[in-house]
Symmetry: C2
Subunit: 245 residues, 2 copies
Amino acid sequence: MLPDILTPKPLKTSHAQPNCSTCSLRELCLPVGLDEPEVEALGDLVNHKCQIKRGEYLHRAGSSFKSLYAVRRGFFKTCVLEKDGRQQVTGFHMTGELIGLDAISTEQHTCDAIALEDSEVCEIPFTKLEEMGRNIPPLMHHFHKIMSREIVKDHGVMMLLGSMKAEERLATFLLNLSRRFFKRGYSSSDFILRMTREEIGSYLGLKLETVSRAFSKLQEEGIITVSNKHIHISDIDRLKSKVGG
Amino acid sequence: MLPDILTPKPLKTSHAQPNCSTCSLRELCLPVGLDEPEVEALGDLVNHKCQIKRGEYLHRAGSSFKSLYAVRRGFFKTCVLEKDGRQQVTGFHMTGELIGLDAISTEQHTCDAIALEDSEVCEIPFTKLEEMGRNIPPLMHHFHKIMSREIVKDHGVMMLLGSMKAEERLATFLLNLSRRFFKRGYSSSDFILRMTREEIGSYLGLKLETVSRAFSKLQEEGIITVSNKHIHISDIDRLKSKVGG
DNA sequence: CGAGGCCTTGATGCACCTCAACCGACGTGG
DNA sequence: CCACGTCGGTTGAGGTGCATCAAGGCCTCG
């Protein structure tokens, strides 16, 4: 049921000078809207990158919290485990997105973060981020926006889980992925899913069979083409009309 | 369907010197863990309180964001409206809790906040809070914890919506309320619900009839006693065993 | 080439939704 | 005062969307 669980830690780190100034993700990540000297200061803070192979854990629920992680390359899922063994995927994270915001509250991670493909993250020591935020108000303010955005996103998922039917949920999910890929310079109509049907189902509150059937239905209707993990959206307007229609 | 919609603004304000130092909610609210001078500074920041009557809006989705609100007395719901008219309750908020964290990201409120009983809130201008946080690191850090806690809470709700059955959802909900009342010095086994069955249902992703039936079932089993909005929990252990059992 | 993971599809059952009737509490106005 | 309407809640009957169980096919990778 779980993906291959390889040794979780220690993380392989590289000191190949991460540099926010030249990072292509700059506009998606933490430095949004900062001036050059500020971005350089932030670059000093991010003291190393970690390589995480597919199936490896970035962190586990319960492990102590020191740093946030910015996804530099790759794809992650985060999931929480209930005591009775049920697991729920709480999010998928792609380049430029921050992982670990949930852990600030208790200084322990509340979820597992697992790489769904070979990935690379920038480690951002949180106490240093707070220190730096004191001297760079726009950085602090932007960080608050990021946390707030996470809350808004979660409310969207609650809405989805609370009041949408299977097909609407899947359409919403695909449109969300599409938009996020587009923002990163990839095609908004052709992409590869990095997660299994079961993981999608867990995120959307559905069983994997239901996800599969919903894919088939959208395909029969000529809205998308599905070939294993490859998704092609052929009629995005009709896909949009599925949600809240 | 909606409760009485009275004039939303302007809010009635009172300058009866709010004072965090002497506030009985201090340990539940923003000043947790601050020293005396720091709490006093925070008190200066909270420049006035607002009275909100039952059914009135604290803010509406789309309205511009200036301040967070700390509930000083009373009870609120927040809810988002979908374009097709469906509404989803995203949270219930009691004394000591902060409302408006979702609005930081876009500087617009993303949800309506409505008082479910006559209430009073402290208005906390957000830019001032950020300024003050620069000089009082523990305040900033605690604020980050509060935002993070909100994210964790939302993940809990996602788990509930994604993988629990009706009875489990209601049990989880009641236990959560029970714990929050207890923290505020009220009985953990006897309390009045401030929201309707429909609002509970919206929050839990259920229809009101299903909520009602779940209440009846728990009552038949001798776990709780329901009398309109009054809930008595007579066997909290069995109630706990309902969730994740 | 074989094994296992992932996916699809079908058949069946059930939890919850939907529709509907009814009840009690409350407020209003004759 | 009671008649009345409204709102929130309960309960029943029937329908349905999704879960469950099961079988089989297809990629992938050792």
